[in-house]
Amino acid sequence: MPGALEGFRICDFTGQLAGAGATKWLAMFGAEVIRIEDPVRQGRWDILRGAPPYKPGQSGLESGGGFNNHNVDKLGITLNLRTDKGKEILTELIRISDAVTENFAAGVLEKWGFGYEQLKAIRPDIVYVSNCGFGHVGPYRRYKTWGPIVQAISGLTFSSALPDQPPAGWGYSYMDHTGGYYMAIAILMALLHRQRTGEGQWVDLACTEAGVSLNGPALLDWSVNGRAMRDAPVNSNRSQYVPMAPHGIYPCAGDDDWIAISCRDDADWRALAGAIGEDWTSAYQAADTRWSQQDALDSALATWTRTHDKFALEQTLRALPIPAAAVQKPAERIERDETTGRFGLWPSVTHTAMGEVRVDGQPVHFSQTDWQAVHGAPCLGEHNAAVLTRLLGYSADEVRQLAEEGVL
């Protein structure tokens, strides 16, 4: 089956998750993504290359579980850009690519001689998408970020918390994932514009700006009504703005087992109260009472949920039906929850060094040109010969010589 993006070629400097996650989407839909790594540092700019988790019995540069997960079906070459020949090969590659993508700190690619002006000189209709925490313009352009820093700056850490506690934030780099989605959107939009008009362009993506936008109504409540989220305690398991109660995550009988329950309206509450079947529920018939007395309501509800198995309770509440879901642990959503398996969400890929490994698939299916996951992430320089001979016209001997000279 041909991929939806077959025929598009990406000259890809991305790494970590915020960048690599973007080009993973393109690669799984059939774009030819050529990942370029630095042979001198063995590609270690990407801190996930060679980092745990490892398959049992494995470790080292070619065994990084996260690296493999984020770089499925990409080609990998090494280029030493400290050498003139390395720069020449990169120039040849850019000339035949549709887009150049990177998530270095602002200015790094330009310092190597491949800023947008230079890219445009090589190929006038090139699409260039850069992705960094604060963008390439503005007072903080030299400042550095990781996912958790982006989340802190953009307001997402603050708005994830329980009362009388410090911010809980996000226990993973939500904005590396999501910054990657915005980067993918930016690449796809710029390619679409180029397909329709022949014009290339540079997109300066600042992950923090993508993150700020994810609290839109709170920003308008501030700019329009002058109401600051800073002034009211956050309990982000509760409903924000829309008065739904009870609405929270409640303890269940097992070890660190929890269930999320939302009562959207009186009907949901009556159904839940019926299932509980205890007298105290009669005090909460009015929506206003449930909303204004959530602390007491939550604690009464928690006393009840605590005696139940989370999945049994989920089944009971879903039969009513009211919105309810067990807080699933990784093993539960990957192995026990049959909906993810039936969706084909955990495909197995073949990695040259790691062997067979399951990875995150894409949460979508196309009726005509669906994604595929076949190969794992490239080993360092795995496709040097293939890319240089097939695409750039070098002979096998020349490739060997370039490797000996330290260009590859």
Partner: protein
């Protein structure tokens, strides 16, 4: 010309896809929001302009429906539905989050729509995908998040506190991000000569693959990450990264100093603040700053000197944090080359000089009120075809005559 000029999107109003429609509309697509005669439910979501509850004053609705036109159509009325079918015949993309089966019952699912509009890209967003019975069940952002994985990784070191779901309807945002990536990918394929197609987006699947190491640690070696306060969930506990500053506000310190140059800069900063004398561990910072050869982080915990140096970095930051404001700490650390973030509430980032300098807050004119308001701005900066809010959210049925009239 804007990126998506002359791309027509019909959006059947639904909370999970509202943001997808906005992302396309703000890049120039002609997004037509189709509401039932009573209006979309989110018109009554708080907050409201001046706290006056009114379907035309919901800031929630304002945010999610910028740059769109709005029509009213009663899908259950066959004559009105015929008008809508005519409209969809002129569309490039249909975006909907209807219950599986509903469009089929109305005789307007993809199999019918594609007969007269074979180029149509139909993107359906549901809780578990079109083929799952669970997609028929009521769900909220909270219950989708619990099922999809994020809360398991978010919360506090103290596991007697529940897992935490971050605010901002991120389940719907994540579904929307994949809906947009899908629509653009399918449009690119169509632009290269391919057919239109149907795309099935699962919100819980999208969340499952937006959990970083939680999923791939399980997939690679069966490990289970555990939530920790304000930092990445991990299989083994890691050092705290949130610090409270002298003004009572929090910062995220990310990765503590770990390179000689960083120890040196931290030491210099302590000296500038006049704090070196009261910090006995400064001697270890000096050792770290003068370290020769690789500073082997894997020896933390086993090698006394390396452990002491590494600890002195964190302790030095803690001392500084206790004396200055969170904002000063953020700027000071970043100027010293440390990737640190102040934990802003959403409205604070809106007023931050960097984002103001980049033009992030965006004025939107409300002609009907004769007022302008500052909205969240561009999530990415396209240099040739800029993001822009072309109009305020539509009033109920504002463009019904204009849109349907143009079809006759």
């Amino acid at each position: 010309m804007s990126v998506l000029e002359e791309i027509r999107v019909v959006e059947l109003a639904g909370e999970p896809i509202a943001y997808a429609g906005k992302l396309l509309a703000d890049m120039g697509a002609d997004v037509i929001l189709v509401e039932p005669p009573v209006g979309d439910a989110s018109r009554l979501f708080p907050p409201f302009l001046d706290d006056v509850r009114d379907p035309e004053r919901s800031l929630h609705f304002w945010h999610y429906h910028t740059s769109k036109r709005g029509v009213v159509c009663d899908l259950d009325d066959p004559r009105q539905r015929d008008r809508l079918l005519k409209l969809i015949d002129t569309a490039d993309v249909l975006l909907e989050a209807e219950q599986p089966g509903r469009l089929m019952d109305l005789g307007m699912d993809y199999d019918v729509l594609s007969l007269t509009n074979p180029g149509l890209v139909h993107v359906a967003v549901t809780p578990y995908g079109r083929h799952e019975a669970a997609s028929q069940l009521p769900a909220t952002d909270l219950t989708l998040m619990a099922a999809g994985g994020p809360p398991w990784s978010c919360g506090y070191d103290d596991h007697s506190l529940p897992p935490v779901r971050g605010w901002g309807k991120q389940a719907f945002h994540t579904g929307s991000h994949f809906a947009v990536m899908s629509a653009l990918t399918a449009l690119l394929h169509r632009g290269a000569g391919g057919p239109g197609q149907f795309v099935d987006v699962s919100i819980t699947a999208a969340l499952n693959v937006t959990t970083e190491a939680a999923s791939y640690t399980w997939l690679v070696n069966g490990g289970t990450v555990q939530r920790q306060t304000g930092r990445h969930a991990a299989t083994r506990s890691t050092g705290e990264t949130q610090m409270r500053c002298a003004d009572g506000r929090w910062v995220n310190t990310g990765v503590p100093p770990r390179f000689p140059v960083e120890f040196g800069r931290l030491l210099a900063w302590l000296e500038r603040l006049g704090l070196k004398e009261e910090f006995p561990e400064a001697v270890f910072l000096e050792m770290g700053a003068n370290w020769e050869g690789p500073f082997d982080l894997s020896l933390i915990g086993s090698d006394e000197t390396i452990t002491a140096i590494f600890s002195s970095g964190r302790e030095g930051l803690q001392l500084i944090a206790s004396r200055i404001s969170a904002y000063e700490f953020f700027i000071g650390c970043q100027d010293a080359g440390l990737a640190v973030g102040v934990i802003y509430s959403p409205e604070e980032v809106f007023e931050d000089p960097h984002f103001v300098a980049r033009g992030y807050p965006t004025e939107v004119r409300h002609d009907d009120l004769d007022r302008s308001f500052r909205y969240p701005g561009a999530p990415y900066r396209f240099t040739r075809t800029p993001w822009a809010i072309s109009r305020r959210a539509p009033k109920l049925g504002e463009h019904t005559d204009e849109v349907f009239g143009a079809l006759d």
